[in-house]
Structures are given as C-alpha cells and as structure tokens.
Symmetry: D2
Subunit: 365 residues, 4 copies
Amino acid sequence: MARSGESRVPVAVLGATGTVGQRFVRLLQDHPWFHLAVVAASERSAGQRYGDAVDWQQGVPLPESVAEMRIQRCEPMTGIPLALSALDASAAGPIETAFARAGILVVSNARSHRMDRDVPLLVPEVNPGHLRLLEEQEVPDGAGIITNPNCSTIGVAMVLGPLHRAFGVERVHVVTLQALSGAGMPGVPAMAIQDNVLPFIEGEEEKLESEPRKILGRLGRAGGGIEEAELAISAQCTRVPVSDGHMAMVSIQLGERVGVEEVRAVLSDFRGLPQELGLPTAPRRPIHLFDEPTAPQPRLHRDREQGMAVTVGRIRPCPLTDVRMAILSHNTVRGAAGGALLCAELAIAEERIPGITPPVPTDDR
Amino acid sequence: MARSGESRVPVAVLGATGTVGQRFVRLLQDHPWFHLAVVAASERSAGQRYGDAVDWQQGVPLPESVAEMRIQRCEPMTGIPLALSALDASAAGPIETAFARAGILVVSNARSHRMDRDVPLLVPEVNPGHLRLLEEQEVPDGAGIITNPNCSTIGVAMVLGPLHRAFGVERVHVVTLQALSGAGMPGVPAMAIQDNVLPFIEGEEEKLESEPRKILGRLGRAGGGIEEAELAISAQCTRVPVSDGHMAMVSIQLGERVGVEEVRAVLSDFRGLPQELGLPTAPRRPIHLFDEPTAPQPRLHRDREQGMAVTVGRIRPCPLTDVRMAILSHNTVRGAAGGALLCAELAIAEERIPGITPPVPTDDR
Amino acid sequence: MARSGESRVPVAVLGATGTVGQRFVRLLQDHPWFHLAVVAASERSAGQRYGDAVDWQQGVPLPESVAEMRIQRCEPMTGIPLALSALDASAAGPIETAFARAGILVVSNARSHRMDRDVPLLVPEVNPGHLRLLEEQEVPDGAGIITNPNCSTIGVAMVLGPLHRAFGVERVHVVTLQALSGAGMPGVPAMAIQDNVLPFIEGEEEKLESEPRKILGRLGRAGGGIEEAELAISAQCTRVPVSDGHMAMVSIQLGERVGVEEVRAVLSDFRGLPQELGLPTAPRRPIHLFDEPTAPQPRLHRDREQGMAVTVGRIRPCPLTDVRMAILSHNTVRGAAGGALLCAELAIAEERIPGITPPVPTDDR
Amino acid sequence: MARSGESRVPVAVLGATGTVGQRFVRLLQDHPWFHLAVVAASERSAGQRYGDAVDWQQGVPLPESVAEMRIQRCEPMTGIPLALSALDASAAGPIETAFARAGILVVSNARSHRMDRDVPLLVPEVNPGHLRLLEEQEVPDGAGIITNPNCSTIGVAMVLGPLHRAFGVERVHVVTLQALSGAGMPGVPAMAIQDNVLPFIEGEEEKLESEPRKILGRLGRAGGGIEEAELAISAQCTRVPVSDGHMAMVSIQLGERVGVEEVRAVLSDFRGLPQELGLPTAPRRPIHLFDEPTAPQPRLHRDREQGMAVTVGRIRPCPLTDVRMAILSHNTVRGAAGGALLCAELAIAEERIPGITPPVPTDDR
C-alpha cells in the first residue's frame, strides 16, 4: 500500500482488553492499510503489558509483539489520526468526544453517540452517504465520531437496506436469538444460560427498534441531521447458548406487494460501495442466500467471508406480511469490530482524513 | 379412589418406549384414577420386557413393576377401556382408528387425526365442549379418538383461549424456541445443535398456524364439526439447545383496543373446567404470570405445577399490535403426555365412558 | 415434630442468597425437625426483603413467607441454637467462630475451618464418630463448628469410606468433571465454558487430595484431633458444561487384592448411622450401583433420593490398580446444602444440643 | 510442485460423506501435492452428486467443483495411486485390503487394520520408521495400508513419544473428555448429552490402552512386525458436550526420576521428521506448551496450527507418579483426517510410491 510513502496508518484501539477490543486487535493483524500502534484501556489496566492484562479468548494466539505493548490511558495521543473504540457505553461518551475534539477520527462500537444528530450511524453497504454528517460535527478537520450500530441491528439493517430502496419497508416483526459473546466478558453467568434461553436482554429491543430508522433515513439539508425512515419495528430479543452469531427471525411488510422471488433477487444482487471500492475488510457479497430450509445456522455459517457476510435463508411468504426470513450475522465481527473497521476503511477511502489517501484497490484479493 | 368399587381404570400406553411414552409411564405412577395395565409398542419391541426394550431417559428410576411388564403389540385388547397413544404419526392413524372401532377411548398425542372433522383437538381448559364431537364418530358407545395439540401449540393456545373469549384475537406473530425433547429420540444429533440453533423444524409451523384456529373454533350443529376461528397466525419455529420447555415470543392483535393491564387480568384470572372439577393432573392455575422481565425461562419455570402450568412473562405493548409476551410450556408434560392425560381425565369426569364414573373430587390435593 | 413441646428447632441460614444458601432455604421447607427462622447475608443485603435481594435460581417457586423475611446481618442472634452456613470462605472463618462462641452450633459448608484440628469434617455415613471432636472446641456447651467437605470430595469419600474399612485404601487416582453450580453465582462466565471444558479449578485439587485423609482418619485420644489415614490421592479437577452433578472417574489401589465383585458387594451393602437412625434427609441407601456401562450420568441420576444418594457405575478392574469406577454426586445437595443438613440432623439425633432431643424416628417415610 | 511434470497426485477419499470424509475433502482444497480426484462412498450414495448426498457440516462452504462430483463405489479404480479412507470400521477392512491388493496406497482412519502385524500404526512425528512395515505386506510395489491411530490416542501418543525416548514410560493413567464429533454423524443424540456428560464410549478405552504400545514399539527384524513397548495404560473415556477437541488428563510414571522441568524441556524441544521435511500439513511445532493453568481448552486451542498441533498444559508433579498434565488435540483434524493426510505426505516424501517424488520443500510456508 502506498499511503504517505510506505507506511500504514497508525491506529489506536480503545477498550482493547474486552471482547470487542480483542477482535479489533485480531483483525488489525496483517491489515493492509492500518497498523496497531496503541492499545488503550481503563485506568485499572493502564501501564500493564497487554499480554498480562488481557484474558485472551480468541481462537488464534495473541501475537507476541502485541502482548508486549504497554496499555495506555484512554486519553488523546499525538500522531494517531484514527481510533477504534470498543469502550463500554458507560465510559465511551466523553472519551470519544475528547478524542474527536483533539483531532482524531473515532469509529465507535458503543451506543453513546449513535443517536446524536450529527453523528453517522453507519452500515457501509447501506448508508455510506451518511458519512457527510461528519461535516456537521464541531471538530478539527479530519476528526469526528462515526458509530457502528448495535450487534443485533446490523444483520437486520443489511437486509432492510436494499429492500427499503427497492420497495419501501413499512413494518418489521423481529425476534432475535442472540449469542453469548454479545454480552461481553464476564457477561452472562454460565449457570443462567445452561440448558436454558433467556427472554430478555436489557436495552436491546429499544436499539433494534430505533437504529434501523436512522440507518435507512435520509440525509437532509446541511445541519439538519438525518430524517428517519418511517418504518415501525417490533423487536423481541432473546439470549441463547451459542458462542457467536445472532439469528433474527423476521417478518416484513413492504411498501409494494411483491413476490418472494423479487425479494430474493434484490437481496442476492445487492452490492454496496465497500464492494465497489474493494475495501480490505468488505465481503465480496454482503448477503449470502441459502435455499435449503435448514440454513442459516450460527455454527456453520457465522464465519462466511471471515464473518463479514450476512447470511439469509428461509425466504418465504408470511400469512400476515409480505415476506419472512431468517437472518444471521457474526455479532463480534460484522456486528462489532469488523463492521467498525469497515467504517474506518470507508472513511479513508472517502478521504475523510486530509493527507491520508486510500491505496490503489487491489484486484486480486 | 372409589370407582366401580375399589379399582382404578386400567389403561394402555401405545408407543410406550419413546420419549412421550416414557412420560406417560412416569405420570401414571400413583395416578389416583388410572393404573398402567398394558405397555404396547412396535413389532420390533413386542414380547420384550419393558425394562429391556426401553432406553429410560427420565430423571426418576423406572419402577421395577413396570420394568417387568411384557410389551404387547399395538392391537386392540379386551378389558382396557382407555388408551393413551404416544405413537409416531407414521403409525398412529390406522392403529388409533382400530382401537376406537374396537370400543376403546383413545387419547392421542399424534397429529394423524387432529384435523379430522369429527375429532376433538382438545386443550381441556380452553375448549372442553369440543368433547361432544366424540358423538359424531362412528364407533361404539364410550369409544372414540381425542387428540392433543402439537407441543408448540399448547402454550400459545392456552393464552389465546381466554384472550379470544374476552377480546377476540385477530392476528398472531409467533416465533418459537423449541426444546430438544420435542424431537423425540434419537431426534436431533448433538453435533447439529452444539453451539448452535436451527431455524427450521419440519412440519411444525403448519401445525402452529392451523391448530389454534380449530381449538378456538365453535362447535356447530350436530354433524358439522368445528367452525374454525377466524384468526391469522404467522409461526416461525426454531430449535434451541435446551432439554425441555418450549418458549414462544408472541405479538397479538386483539379484536378490541385494550390495555396491557386488561390482558394481564384476563390471563391471571383464567381458570377452566379442569380446575373447577379438580382433575388430578390439572394445575391449580393454568397460567402463571411473572412481573420480572427475565422470566419465564425453561430451566427455572418449566416444572411449575409438575410441568402442567403455562408460564407467561414480559407482557407489554407492541408497536405493531396490541400486546407482546413470552410464553413457556413444558413440551413433554403439558405439551404431550400430561396434556393428553388431562384430556383423559376430563373424558372420565364428563362420563364419556358408560359405567365409569369419576370419583368424588378431593379437596385436599 | 414434638421437640420441646410442639415446635421445630429454629434455624438460621448464613449466606442465604447464594447458590448453596438458596438450597438450604429450599430444603428447609417442610423440614420435619427444623424451621427457617433467620436468613442472614452480607452487609450489602442486610435489611432487604429476601425476595428482593435474592436472584432465585431454584426450579421451584420461592415461598411467599420466605420472600417476605428481612435479611439479617451475620451476627450471633439469640433464640437460635443452630446455624447452617453457606458463607464464602472469604468471610466464613471469623463469623462462624463468633457464632460458635456465642453458643450456637454451626454446620458450615465453607472450607475455612475444615482442617482445624478440633473441627469435625463430617460425612455422616462415613465418620459420624468424629462429632466427638466438638468436645475439644472451646465454646459453650451445645455450641461449636461442624464442617461439610468440599463438593468434589463427598462422592469420593462416600465410596472410599466403606472400602477403607473393608480392605484399606492405599492410592487413588481421580479426575473430576464438575458442574457449573459448584462455582456459585455468577461463577463461570458462559463464554468461558460454551462449547468448552476447563482443565483447572482453583484450589479444588488440594481439597480433594487432603480432605479424604481426614475423613477416613481415626479419632485419637482426647485433644489429639484426627489421625489422618495414610492414603495418597492424585486429583485432577475439570469443569464441564453441566448444571448440577459432579462426576469422578477413579482408580483405586486397595490394601488387599480383592476382586471387583467384593468391591461391588461392600458398596452395595453399605449403610451408615443416618440410615440406622432414619434421619429425615438421609437417603435410604447412600450408594446406588448401576450395572449398565452408560451410568451414572449427571442429568439422569443426580436427583436420586432427592439428590442425597451417590451413584456409582462402571466398576471394573484397572490395569494399574485394583478397581476403577465412575462416581456421581449432586454437588449442591449431597455435596453442599443437603450434606450439611444431614450433619445437623445427626448432631441433633446424637443430642449434641442440650435440651433438644430428636423426635421418635418415623418408620413410614 | 514439480511432481511428474506439473500435476498434483490424484487422490480418492473413501467414505467421503461422513464427518471425517468431509474433513478430508476440506483439507484437500488447495493442497500443494494432492488433488481430490474421486469421492467414494457406500452403495446408497453412489451415483449421486456429492453436494446432494452430503450433509455438509464444515464451517466453510463446500466448493462448487466438489459438489458437482459424482460419488463412486468403494472399488479400486485405475489412475489413482493414493486413497484416504474415512470408512466405518464395519466396512473398512475388506475394502482397504482390496484397494491395497489392486496397487493403491491406502491411508486409513479406521481401526480395522491398526493392530495387523504388518500394518504401520503411524504418528509421523513419533514412529515414522514404522513405514518400513509396508514392505512386509503382500501387495504390489508402492501399495499397502497405513493406519492412523484412534482420535483419543493421537494426542497422548504425541506426548508419550518423546518422553518414552528420553526417559522411558512405564505407567499411564488417562481420563479423556472427548468431543461429540468423535462419534460421527448422527452420533450422539442431543438429548443424551444435553446438560450431561457420559461416562462411557464403546470400544474406546481398549484402543487407548493398546495402540500406544504399538506406536512406541520397536520395529524388529524383517517379518517380525512391531515389538510393543512395555508400558501399562489405564484409560477411562468420557464424552462431553463439546463440538471438537479431545482433552486427556494424564498421570505418567517414567523410567527415570526426573523433574517437571526436564519433562517440559523434552516436550517443548520436540520436533519430528515431518517438521524436518517441511511436509505441507505438518505443524511447525507438534506440541505447544502453556504455562497458565487454565490452558489448554478445546474452544480456544483446538485450532492451533490449523488443528495439527497438540497443546499441553498444567505440567506438574503428581503425588502418585512423576508428572501430570492436560493434553488437547483436535480429534477430526490431528486425530483423524489431518493426521492421516500427514501420513500420506510422509509416505510420498519417503518415496514409498515408485515414480512419485516429493516436491522440493518450500521454505516460506
């Protein structure tokens, strides 16, 4: 990659020891555009070796070079144009604001700023144009906050996006079966979920009922923020004993009476800007469709395209709406760290940071 | 019990070695009205000791007296007025017909006869009057076929019953999270469900979309069968790694605009004929409500009232319909063997078998 | 029970909100000798309604009368001759000592005092005579501390007890597969054990290697404590995704060369003092043997005799020692609350509290 | 690779639709030396498209080119010098013999021929010299049968190998916690293992007690087969609810009294012939050691080096022998398909098939 000379963009990961932070660290290994320059975490961990502070739960080894890094405080640092935030919502808000004001572009996985009027809530395939909201933030040029939706929202929004553009989406019933990793660590006690499912996830239904309205909304005139889409969503969120992979059973009422085959065609043909630009973390196809009724399944399909593809099956008519289907997405990859990383790549490709230009897209991925 | 003198009614269990058959055997231990007189199963097992033929998977020991019983063929036997059928749908149809024609009252858990015009599909608390359909069957007096709904239907029907009577039910969205025992043995391979959920259960959605319409229907004039209720249901059925207990996340549109509190009151106050009659297997309250949002949960609540109570929680408004909630029922007890046993008790209490009268209800259960 | 007049012995449960504390509460419902008079817990919970402070995880409802009880501080109270302690080891030591000095008989599930020279480490079937150690404690008459072994020790000790008496036990290799409830709440994070087993449980192997030596030891002359048995144990403790029920795979070298049939006979015939006395919580047979090689299994067999029986299977020769077998015990019943309750019953039956006499044993349990 | 010109060796997979067969198919994708030329399976599947006949359970998509292949009968075919057998033991024996007699080199995962006097039971790192046994088989030049040990044996043998060479191994106690995939499909019913562990796996303990003796044995004079090592093993095999990854808790008595550090050094330094030769499927290090007591764990560590590395932790003294440890290996990769593939690579590298020469080892893997 030919950034300013030979080097990759130095990146800070905030909240680097948690579940999503670990994913960021893992995804930044061998990233063609970025290199992990700073691991930052809470006061408690600051100053420790990363390898000592983290309870590494990824299925691949922690690279020795990362293990040796010293954890920094979550305070703006110089020489770092880009920060990926995996901070808890309890801490994220003011920290991310401070970073943005200090001139850093922050891509956040926390909910703190998602519904802020001037902050894009981004699914790069669905609403890349919302990046323009950055211009409304009162921060130095090239800085600002971009947010990634909730892990339960992303798979649903990826499907609603193209359907909304093609037919309009009016009403959505969704029941989720969400994986354990969505709760972070320590998260759900094993005794609470052993031989069990839980009918409730605190705060989750609200996010899933509101975030897609913003994602599918329209960028108004300058300063006007996003005009939310007029669709109504009923979300019921459950927790199931699965490590990774959120499943959503949805029933969708469209603006037009169309058949299942037209729905299938729209989803199958869908490609977004990340695919056009060939962004490094973009899946070749954002949505993979299955014909067999037994798919998708978390264990078998969550890792499609390194966890960045959303998989969809059981597309069929609904007695009460137009169409039903099952949607699966990897909650800590596409639904968190991978999704946020893709947002960062899009921002670079769109030259949102002055002086940092995207490398020539590689064709032979 | 003081039936005709001192003895309890001799009962045959058909399909006695399977998951539901084992539950029948277990529930008939110490039953005050019935005693297990015959265990019958497929050709393959006939003639064997029950204890040798069965792979006993209940959490309590198999009684030695039952282990010693010889398995009979599934052919009508004399001296047995009542049969409880746990046969597979592949075999149940003609066998149950033969038993009924031979003068035996059959309560079946199979789907074979559920939608027959002259066969009651019974949830004793909800539609006890449908028992009258027995009179339309062309069988000897006191004989006939009664069916028990599908295990995924029962919890939902128990809730829809009183709501339909009070307000009318127009539309129901339901997504189920169903337990492994619903698939019998060997059922789902462990490797298929390990760290996984399955988005499809063959044939299940059709049952859940059609059976409640019959259960909530009205008995027409003689010979006219059941006039189905006019409600529309969308069912999406998933399998989860839980041993027992089907969860259903439902969203219900009622015929009247009523508040959540009125819905709650109707469910909380609901009692049926089995409760009035004090039937031995009837729960004191058919529906248990929870206020805390974390309930119901399969592992904690499936065994309420020995698995015969349906538990309901998260009653709250829905952005798209009138009310949403989570419904849990024990699929092999209330949803299968226990439910069928309660049907049999109701038939006896209603004196559907000439010469067999119900004992005086005991008050001090 | 007709203790001093009409009433049952009032009992305090210390640490009443945790996993084992909840079991104590559950087991004391309808106990014929004891009634739950006080629930005590940490400073943080003191003063709250029990129903508000507890995250009740038992499969049966919390009785309303208990939910209404106010939680007290863990300080000695008057009018309570007996306390059952489910306190964490971090707190148990000084609190239990304070209770004993205040004149209360404490039966503890914590490890704090287990290896104290003058404290009995009791498995009532195996070493009831160790109760005499109470006389060496410097506390008021009728008071003192009795301890219950670690949950992984009890099943193994129950088997080693009769074998040691019959043949001597010299060496034991044991590998455990331990249930989640053994870690209490929140205990193990679900993400740590999902699709996984853990090869290590902190502090567990040390207990399992040392406690049986004391339990099988001999009461020396007054003041001399217990002379530990000379057996060597190698314990390797693993955690598995099972809710309740610790399995131990053991290989035992005996003091005599005896055949598998003699081992089986000793275990099958074993009865202890609790069985002779007909204590309320005692199982009829402390050890249940299985012939089929697929038993015991946690889900199917942990609840034998309300969780108080130890189940044993796969008794067979070992190429390296004399005999191998699989041992299963319910870790929160026999291995914790039930075991401690049985210790308390034994103490009452042995008239260790002056003025409190055991009721006449009932024959028709 | 420069085989005979430009092409890779055409390989047949026998039993290609089962769990291990699927792994073979997956591992042969992009293999530098071999290409999948034939998928063969039972009579029942023969003639079908592979994509139609298989219930593909791998976490990566089935390549379209393989899905289109027609399944052949398990009969020797021309033009195929090498067959990888994932056949059931019930069928493997005579089929593999027929293939060998027809001039094909068969590497088998079945137990049928493992203990045959003239058949190598191969762990390429441990006993590569046993390949010479091929010369004793009465088959055409370049043909014969090589077997791979049982999935529970391989991890243990990989550790015992270097220890036996360094110090001698005299006695081994091993208790395994084995994954579900070891039972194939459908394998263990989900209801049998849900919230449960099983204390018995049919036939498994016999294999684990006998196979290491042959693997660690010495090749005698020509025609004399293997002189088994004189070590005694006690194996107790359990099944746990884990998808992949067999754990073994072992206690080892060595021929010399050495400390834990010497054991650790021998294991850490261990490299075998596959590492020297740089075989494509060989892990860089056959054994990975962990210092932290919580490792290894199946979910976190089974995929080390694409599942070909054995991971070892908790090396510590044992009160009864010299050393204890926990050993983990991926049962369907290193313990089955991957292990067999490595055997095939070794055979090619050793020029066991006339006219087929190994490519020059690549240095930059």
